[in-house]
């Protein structure tokens, strides 16, 4: 082996199963050279709940990405505006499979375009919360001492304010548009991510491998960035998946409250709910359909997140 030294960083997953060696080996494992993430993924593949979650999420993402091709009508078009009467909104027909709404827009198209808006808001706001939370949590977890105390008290302060209230205030200050909704939802998540990461880092810092790394003479920065942080990210990433679900719901809630701004015909699930209120007695499907979309999407992300959490559970890990 020494005659042909492999590359400095051996390619992790290309390993053919080698002989289980060492004098104190246990029965050879077939799954050689698998990182924890790979193992988690393998475990998730066998879980029906994870598969259901993944299918829902995949469908949602596909619909959002392919909206221009899937949707029968453009985003803000009102093709059926001549069919609307004050007392009657036409239901499903061959031309409009899920019927029309108050403005004469095709509901199916609206739902499809709405998926796109929800995906953008959900993903961007979660990323925002994740980035902010990791930065704040890293600060607290890496330095400890008074930095930790100061940062965490500030985080506690943020947590003490009800998240919807905070989001509403942010949206109110930043103006009524989608960007402010994204910022509002993202900022609200920062303290949650920060807390999780800090707690996880504190636990990891006590592990022997961190002591061993310090004994090797690595600087504190290296120990933190290459050992403590990567090992602490598991719960944070699980949380991010779960936050995607709540972000979709909260985006709908903020739009429902009218904080999203823009024209009433703009396709967004929350806004569709707002509009449906007035017509609840004559066309309940206008409220049911977007509600169902929100619930199913949130359910998909939640199932995926929960099974990811289970797959990454250290107790499962050890049992293999």
């Amino acid at each position: 082996m020494t005659a042909t030294p492999p590359p400095a960083e051996p390619v992790v997953d290309a390993a053919p199963p080698p002989e289980p060696g060492g004098s104190d080996t246990r029965p050879g494992s077939k799954r050689d050279g698998q990182s924890l993430w790979r193992q988690a993924f393998r475990r998730m593949r066998t879980s029906p709940i994870a598969i259901l979650g993944a299918v829902i999420v995949l469908a949602f993402v596909l619909v959002a990405l392919l909206a221009p091709w899937l949707a029968p009508y453009p985003a803000q078009a009102t093709p059926g505006r001549d069919l609307i009467r004050p007392t009657m909104i036409p239901g499903p027909s061959a031309e409009f499979p899920l019927g029309l709404d108050r403005f004469g827009s095709d509901v199916l198209s609206q739902l499809i375009w709405g998926a796109r808006a929800s995906l953008v808001i959900g993903v961007v706001s979660t990323l925002l919360g994740l980035a902010g939370g990791v930065a704040v949590g890293l600060l607290a977890g890496a330095f400890g001492g008074w930095v930790d105390t100061a940062v965490m008290r500030f985080v506690d302060l943020m947590l003490a304010i009800p998240s919807l209230l905070l989001a509403v205030s942010i949206a109110a200050i930043a103006g009524q548009n989608n960007t402010s909704i994204i910022i509002a939802i993202g900022v609200v998540q920062i303290p949650i991510f920060a807390r999780l990461l800090r707690g996880s880092m504190l636990a990891q810092r006590k592990e022997d491998y961190v002591l061993a790394a310090r004994s090797l003479g690595l600087t504190r920065g290296t120990v933190t960035m290459s050992h403590v942080l990567p090992n602490s990210l598991g719960p944070v990433i699980v949380q991010a998946t779960l936050v995607l679900a709540t972000a979709v719901i909260e985006a709908a809630a903020l739009s429902f409250l009218g904080l999203g701004g823009g024209r009433p015909t703009e396709a967004e699930w929350g806004r569709m709910l707002t509009g449906a209120q007035a017509e609840l007695s004559i066309a309940p499907r206008l409220a049911l359909l977007p509600g169902l979309c929100i619930s199913i999407t949130a359910l998909g992300f939640t199932l995926l997140g929960e099974s990811l959490r289970e797959a990454l559970d250290p107790r499962m890990r050890r049992r293999r």
């Binding site: 104190d24 002591l211 090992n231």
Partner: protein
């Protein structure tokens, strides 16, 4: 040991029928990877009043046998063949309700971990009374009185008051005694004790086992003792069963088994068990047959009194002291400070092994961390070749780190789970700018070879290695920078005996080849006896006795050392060499 005498003197054929009969037991677990047979073809008898020990390493199936007998197999486990008969009644296929009625009254259990097996929210008394009432042994006031009695019998003083205590107010040894009291409360005919003392310090272990022996002897209770320690099994049981990979490889009267093992695995186990090895050293000394001792490559060089030469020690520890501030209490108050290490001094001569032994909480790991500069001492100094290391100067610190490296206890937590073996060993080389990628890679494979791991291991992650393999990786990482001193903090304590002995041999071999100096921290005197040249005994933060290992072990002066030594299992065994 009366039980032992019985077994040796009485012929085994004309006995009363066995209390417990296990025949061709097979247990299968359903796992992700399909059915796994954990135990197969296990047959044995336990007669009334007899103590039988099942010995094996982790994963040998010994606890599974116990669980099968008790009907407590986990949900994915099933008895797929064989029979378990108690008093002529088959235990397999009994309904949960019938089984429940047997538990406590006929079958008792002393579980493994005293820290987690008591309900933390209920008093000890309530847990005892509960057992007494549920088994219908006693009720009301009578149950309470009986609980006090049982605790007293189990060796807990002032039981009248202690009965109102919660588990967290008890020490580990006291909890285990309480668990024994609970296990015996309804006077079962068979008590299954699953590693009852492996979580306890040796001195406590001895007291607890003595007490258990007295109680079961008085009641005529048969005991099925599950343990990994062959010395302890031989000490306590009349018959020993040896299990290996789910099969019973050998069984027989304890002494016969120790003197004339027939199966290869038993021989390996015998050779590896530190308690027995230490006993063999002792017998060899007495009979003057020192050459006959197996594993003498581990032995400290007894001839070597050249320690007294003029060469200064590689490391000198002077008056080390560590005080941890007490926990805050209220706004301004504090608990009293905790002196973890008090005035500890010793020398580490080059190329030798210095051991620190002590029970948990004696401060030995704190000494190790201060020596590694991972913890700032409150006062005192650590001198490397007569020079004090100034931790504030980074160059000094890095130079120090290159020369002094640790190997930690828990092979499960001392490696970064996200790093491959290659990256783990390469990391120190890279951090200290050792050559280019190519030379580093060569060095990694050289190190793997030194710790006897195949090169293919380099791609694996820690989760894919066994405990012994992980510890080898940790040793390879420690050796990467060619240090002079390696601090082994309980480095072999978490390993099975055979693996433990392999790692000890590896350490001894590396010491010889590379001229390493070891600081060996351990609670296991038997291991220390095998590997150390110089031994320091710590109690409550102080070194109470130190000297050459042979002197400390052969003529201990301090009563504490004497107690520790007396508590090594297997001390009274007459082994052949």
């Amino acid at each position: 040991m009366s039980a032992q005498d019985d077994a040796v003197t009485t012929p085994r054929d004309d006995e009363a029928p066995a209390l417990l009969q296990v025949r061709d037991l097979e247990v299968t677990f359903t796992t992700d990877a399909g059915p796994v047979v954990a135990v197969s073809g296990v047959s044995f008898d336990v007669r009334a009043g007899q103590t039988v020990a099942i010995v094996g390493e982790s994963g040998s199936g010994k606890s599974t046998v116990a669980a099968a007998v008790l009907g407590l197999l986990p949900r994915n486990g099933r008895v797929t063949a064989g029979s378990v008969t108690l008093d002529g009644q088959s235990l397999l296929g009994l309904s949960q309700r019938r089984l429940q009625r047997l538990r406590g009254r006929v079958l008792g259990l002393v579980p493994q971990d005293p820290m987690t097996n008591l309900n933390p929210t209920a008093t000890i008394g309530r847990q005892l009374v509960e057992t007494l009432e549920d088994t219908g042994t006693a009720s009301g006031k009578e149950a309470r009185d009986r609980a006090v009695e049982l605790l007293t019998e189990a060796g807990i003083g002032q039981a009248e008051e202690r009965i109102a205590a919660y588990p967290h107010q008890f020490s580990g040894g006291m909890r285990q005694r309480a668990l024994i009291a609970i296990g015996l409360s309804a006077s079962p005919e068979l008590l299954v004790a699953d590693e009852p003392t492996s979580a306890l310090d040796v001195t406590v272990q001895q007291v607890v086992l003595d007490r258990m022996e007295q109680l079961t002897a008085a009641r005529g209770t048969a005991v099925m003792l599950i343990t990994h320690d062959l010395g302890l099994a031989a000490d306590r049981a009349s018959d020993v069963l040896v299990m290996y990979r789910g099969e019973l490889v050998e069984s027989g009267p304890a002494l016969t088994l120790l003197r004339e093992p027939t199966h290869e695995y038993t021989k390996r186990l015998l050779a590896a068990a530190p308690s027995l090895a230490s006993r063999r050293i002792e017998i060899a000394k007495q009979t003057g047959a020192e050459d006959a001792v197996e594993g003498d490559d581990l032995l400290a060089r007894t001839d070597g009194h050249e320690t007294g030469t003029d060469e200064p020690p590689l490391i000198r520890v002077e008056n080390l002291r560590k005080v941890f501030p007490g926990a805050r209490r209220g706004l301004f108050g504090r608990e009293p400070d905790v002196v973890a290490v008090d005035d500890v001094s010793f020398d580490m001569p080059r190329g030798r092994t210095v051991a620190i032994v002590g029970e948990s909480g004696s401060g030995k790991s704190t000494v190790a961390r201060m020596l590694l500069h991972l913890l700032e001492p409150t006062s005192g100094r650590v001198l490397l070749e007569g020079q004090e290391v100034d931790a504030r100067r980074q160059a000094d610190e890095i130079a120090f780190r290159r020369r002094v490296q640790p190997v930690f206890q828990d092979p499960y937590s001392s490696l970064d789970p996200l790093f491959t073996v290659f990256r783990t060993i390469e990391e120190p080389l890279r951090a200290h700018g050792y050559g280019d990628a190519r030379t580093r890679s060569q060095r990694v494979y050289e190190l793997l070879d030194q710790v006897a791991l195949p090169a293919a291991m380099a791609r694996r992650y820690p989760a894919e290695l066994s405990g012994g393999q992980r510890q080898r990786v940790a040793i390879a990482r420690a050796l990467a920078l060619q240090p002079d001193v390696v601090v082994c903090d309980e480095a072999v304590s978490a390993l099975d005996v055979i693996v433990q002995s392999q790692i000890l041999h590896l350490l001894a071999d590396l010491q010889e080849r590379l001229g390493l100096t070891y600081l060996f921290i351990s609670h296991d005197l038997a291991v220390v006896r095998q590997i150390a040249d110089h031994t320091c005994v710590m109690e409550k933060g102080r070194i109470v006795e130190q000297g050459p290992t042979d002197v400390v072990f052969d003529s201990p002066e301090e009563p504490y050392t004497q107690r520790l030594l007396a508590a090594i299992p297997g001390r009274s065994l007459e082994l052949s060499l």
